[in-house]
Symmetry: C2
């Protein structure tokens, strides 16, 4: 403990208090500090001595070289980590159970006919992907006891006829939620159709009034779009704190990027929105404590873009050629999963991450809509 | 030009092509590169020789030390710069002239009575600051020929009575814009009052439907809030390109931070939203090619936060004690102007920056509202 001079003691103090540290910014359970060891394990004396040694190196002008080496060490240590998989399938199953109980409670209170939440889907044309999505939603509805009402309409339906279908559903007391499957054929004005959906039945949360309230401080939308809501629910249910964290959102779409950025700001994260015109994407992603990737580019985000210990939420669903698969392809996200999983502290897989959560949130929004309407009518 | 060995030549090539450079990221006219000199001034040979010298240092493991020193040099050179002042007063005066011509054209077309744009202001209570703002708006209206209709209401007005005032203004064909001066007394539900303003008269752009459309890709709000609109107009009229630039917004208020962030994203900037819970604010601000400060904290942003060559837009209006002033105080922005002006490439002063632009945009929105209404009614 003998230091020999006041200057050294001051140096020690400075080292202990203020020596630059590279923190992993990990929001999960594990934390990497310089040296890869928990500071709690060392005695105060040892820490001071180590810090003093580092300070001397620093003062000799080699600090930056040392810092770069330590940063590399952190990355190497982190590369040996395996990120916790955020299981969207399991979380969504739990939420579906909750919704099922909610539906049963509504039926008990308001009767099996009037009390059953109803979701109307509007499908225009014969796009295979849209038909698949609608079928999946009906299946999920059936599982929790929500009644599906399907409107399958021809590709060449007129704008006015489609508006009439939406208006009729707005009036139907057994329909509590309306979902217009996008995209609509090019001759239809999508904005006008979505704006026609009654606010209290807008379970997709795409009405501009709901988006406006989502954006505004102190306002609450009636519904939040399902994918962003699912992401926030995943983060919440996995105890991932957001206040003061740096969240980076890749993509600025109306259905994912833009609303999730707003939700993250409301959750007190510092939020950066990146998109196709962003320069130095890897450099910005590297700052993310929480990364939300929603750009639709297969495995674009690489391991060396990820800050060690970051939480990675992958919203992309892209098909990738895979001769070893029966179908000749497989689904991958926007994040190169295998390599990124070893740097992130937590990561969502594709499939089985945000996808199941989106449908679970739609069911939850439907049950909420029914609960509000029925509650208001009694 | 004799090199003596193939290895040296390869090194030279690498130096000339790929030696790390620190660019100032300047979006204005001037650019600082490492060394502070224009590369165009040196001959190719000199550049290669200098680059080779740097490469040798780099290879000796001193590259990082050298880089840090060069970065300091860039900052020092930049500190001697004087940022171009973005004169909001002058730009606003130009816009007011344009609005005046627009008003005259409307009067010529629709007659002096029906064709004069009318702005109704609703002022509740006796807050001195609110009264001052309303007075300034009336004065600006008079300058460009917009008719002001003032509703001065008592502090204890009921919610319903205030709603009635707004409804009556909605119905008045001579009122084209309605401005409810905020804040309202605490017993009034601000959200309900603002939502009552007819969309086509929402010249403040605060209606959630307008905010929703502002947020959404492919949608256009009828009106954009005046301060964010003024900021975008200042940037546009000063030829500041935004695509691919990193814009950092300090503050997430409904009237400035949030909408300006959305506008910047729509203008293809990469946008980071910071606020009271942001950690490492200086580090994030340092990345900004364009900084918008709207937090209401006097001279919070310091020179060493600013990236050399950045464009700085200061929205703050704060009073600071100043015994040398008659009033005993003076107005300052959120940015420490004197010191930051020497690092930024362009900067708005306070007062005389975004303030005059806000009122000019209100007048422009009024003229637009009148133009739309009168055009639709003929």
């Amino acid at each position: 403990m003998c230091l020999g001079s006041g200057r050294r003691w001051r140096l020690w103090r400075r080292c202990a208090e203020g020596l630059p540290r590279i923190s992993s910014g990990c929001t999960g359970e594990r934390k990497q500090t310089i040296g890869g060891a928990s500071s709690g394990a060392a005695t105060t004396q040892t820490r001071l001595a180590v810090a003093f040694g580092r300070r001397v190196l620093w003062d000799l002008g080699l600090g930056l070289v040392w810092r770069a080496r330590e940063a590399n060490r952190v990355v190497k240590v982190a590369e040996k980590m395996t990120g916790v998989v955020i299981d969207g399938k399991e979380t969504a199953a739990g939420i579906r159970k909750e919704v099922k109980r909610q539906v049963q409670a509504l039926e008990e209170k308001y009767g099996a006919e009037a009390g059953t939440p109803g979701l109307a889907t509007v499908l225009v044309g014969s796009r295979t992907d849209s038909a698949t999505y609608v079928r999946m939603k009906h299946k999920a509805c059936a599982e929790v006891g929500i009644k599906s009402i399907q409107r399958q309409l021809p590709e060449d339906i007129t704008q006015e006829a489609l508006l009439e279908v939406v208006r009729a559903l707005n009036q139907d007391p057994l329909v509590h939620g309306i979902l217009v499957q996008l995209p609509l054929p090019s001759h239809i004005n999508e904005e006008a159709i979505l704006a026609e959906v009654a606010l209290e039945k807008d379970v997709d949360g795409f009405h501009p009034l709901n988006i406006g309230k989502l954006a505004m401080k102190g306002r609450q939308p009636l519904f939040v779009p399902c994918t962003p809501l699912g992401i926030m629910e995943l983060l919440r249910r996995h105890n991932i704190s957001l206040a003061g964290k740096h969240a980076v959102v890749l993509g600025r779409s109306n259905i994912v990027g833009m609303p999730v950025a707003m939700l993250l700001v409301k959750a007190n994260a510092t939020v950066t929105v990146c998109h196709s015109q962003t320069t130095d994407l890897p450099g910005i992603v590297k700052q993310a404590d929480v990364l939300v990737a929603a750009v639709g580019r297969a495995e674009m985000v690489k391991a060396d873009w990820i800050k060690p210990g970051a939480v990675v939420i992958d919203v992309g669903i892209n098909s990738k050629d895979d001769p070893s698969s029966k179908k000749g392809y497989r689904l991958v996200g926007d994040v190169a999963y295998d390599e990124c999983a070893s740097v992130a502290s937590m990561i969502t897989p594709v499939p089985g991450g945000t996808g199941p959560m989106t449908i679970a949130m739609l069911l939850q929004n439907c049950a909420t809509a029914a609960s509000r309407t029925l509650g208001a009518s009694t």
